[in-house]
Each structure stands twice: as C-alpha cells, then as structure tokens.
Symmetry: C2
Subunit: 197 residues, 2 copies
C-alpha cells in the first residue's frame, strides 16, 4: 500500500497552536506535541493519548460529556487508506479509551461511529472514530444523538453539506424473504473468496 | 476475562432455522452453519463470511443496499466483554468486508457504527457492527441514515425503546475554551496512565 500522506515530521512548527510551552519532564503531557487533524492543529494539551500510530483527543464541541475522537496520526481520508497496522492500532486505542471513559462516567453504553468519507457525513477528511458515552435517558429520543453527531464539526463556523434523495419511510420497509437474503449472501461470499485468493 | 457465555456448541439443533439442508461440499456455504445472534438464529445462507471468532451476515431489513452486520461468534452484549482477540478479529473482518462492498457497490463512503449497549440504541444484546455503504445523494439529509439506523431492528415486529431528556439545540452548543479542553485531556491522561500501570 502506498503512502501518499507521510506523517508530518514537525507538526507544530508552522501551526496555529496557542500552546508553545517548553518541555517540562514533570508534566505528563510533554511527551506529546501538537498534531494535525486534517487541516486543523490539535494542541498537545487536547491530546490525552498517543500510541505509535494513533492519538486520542478531546473535542471542541462535544455532543455528550466524554465525547472524544481517535485518529490515526497519518492524514488520510478513509479507513481503507490505512495500513492494517494503523487500522488495528487505532481500534485498540478506541478499546482502551472506551474502558477509561466507562469507568470515569459510569457509562452504561457507547455509540462508536466512523463517518468514513464525505458521503457518509465526514466533516474532516482525516479518519476519526467518535466515542460517545451514553447513559439511560441522556437523550430524549435515542436517535437525537445521531442528529447531533451529524451536526458535529470541529468548529462552529463549519457548514455541513446536505445531500439529496428520499429515505424510505420506516413503515414502507418490510422484512425481506430468506431467498433474497441467501442470494445476497452468496454474492458476497463469492466476492470475498475472489478477493482473498 | 471470564466467559459467561460460551459459544453454543450446536447452534442449529433447536433453532427455528428454515434451512436444514445436508452438507454438500460443492456448495461454498456448506462449511458454514446456522449461528446465534442474540436470541435469533441466523441461517447459514445469510452468513457470508466466518472467521475463527467472528461472522458476517446479511440483513433482514437493510437500510441501504449492502447494509451488513459483523458480529463476534460469542454472544456478549458489549464490546468490553470481548477478549482482545475477539475484538481484533471482528474489526479485521469489518475491514475485509468493507473493501468487498466498496468494490461491489462503488461506494464512495461508509457509515460504520456500533450501538454498544441498550442506552446507545442497541436492539439485540449481542455485539454487532453495522456497515453501511454510502454514495453521494443517497439520503436527502445525511443524518436520515442515522434515524433509519436507530429504527433498525432485526425484525419489524420489534418495538424500540425510547429514552428521555432533552438534547441541546445545536445553536446552543458553542465552542469550548482551550482551558476547558486541556483540563479534560489532563484528566483522561491521568486515568489512562493509572489504568495501564
């Protein structure tokens, strides 16, 4: 797999970061440095974990308390652009952070979501996993959190694009026949076998 | 980690499966067998990939063409209940299936989402990852797909529970100060360091 976007070797040198403190080894954040999230600069003070290939940071506009983001360090728009090592590293960091948030917020549940590409509502063309701690009754309608997620953008001055075509009404969606499902599964099975040969 | 829900050794013996064909080695689906998805039985014809620990299956009520589910074979409600091996295996299967769907549907994007627990909208207490191929303009408003996802349940006769409390209006959500963000990140950093010590 080619790497069209090598990681920036000096991410903070020309940044708009507000935090330019000198390194202080007594401060646990000082092994961190400012990082790029697409065209944005994430100041190191907002970053709370960094692995070999990924990072976790807090949100300018969290939808719920504890709403954080996990990203690969390399700036690529889609998960398919990640190497398997980057992909696995990112999901293992999601797991670790989710455990920490569960304990800290006594969360009973989480929404874990990736808008993988612009047509899926991605606001910044840099892979990122949303982690949203949930507790019973935190949203009036459960799907309101998705509407909030859709409106989420790193800054309030960013306008989200809207796309077009009708969504079928829920009452018009009916269970499919098992034959239809079997046929679809057979197609996927064949395609997967071809791709892994 | 304990395993309160060992995998069923004979998942189809007392199932409501409609497919009880004998094994035919010429049929590539015949190395598969019916599997449990919570209290449901997924007939083997609906399953299109099975790894050591996970499985991929088509949907009775897809929201978009190619909307499929990935689950661990073991019946556990939350991702935190999975072993690291099960978790990693599941996400690697998500990656492989996503690549196949991307090629098959010429998808330009994907929503990849986990409702991890009941308070997050989970309809079946068995971990599952939704993979939803997207193309530009497939939904009138992009977040309609989330509403459809929220309404998704394995069967149309399942009633989804609603939760309560207000979601803040988007205009009332403002960018936070960097001090607030730095403080939150420092808390998480400390908690992570404690948990990995």
């Amino acid at each position: 797999m080619t790497n069209p976007h090598p990681p920036p070797s000096s991410s903070s040198s020309s940044s708009t970061s507000f935090l330019l403190s000198s390194v202080d080894s007594s401060n646990p954040s000082d092994h961190l440095e400012d990082m790029r999230f697409g065209r944005f600069v994430i100041p190191k003070a907002s970053i709370f974990s960094r692995t070999a290939l990924s990072a976790a940071f807090v949100n300018l506009r969290p939808i719920v308390p504890g709403h954080v983001l996990i990203m690969p360090q390399r700036i690529v728009p889609l998960m398919a652009d990640l190497t398997t090592e980057e992909y696995t590293d990112m999901w293992l960091l999601v797991r670790q952070v989710q455990g920490m948030l569960q304990r800290h917020y006594n969360a009973t549940a989480f929404n874990v979501a990736v808008q993988d590409g612009r047509a899926a509502g991605q606001s910044v063309p840099h892979v990122h996993v949303h982690i949203l701690p949930r507790t019973k009754g935190d949203f009036q309608r459960n799907d309101d959190i998705y509407e909030a997620l859709e409106e989420w953008a790193p800054r309030i001055d960013m306008v989200k694009e809207r796309t077009s075509i009708d969504v079928p009404d829920d009452k018009d969606r009916v269970d499919r026949t098992l034959d239809m499902m079997a046929e679809e599964a057979a197609t996927y099975r064949r395609l997967l076998e071809q791709s892994t040969r």
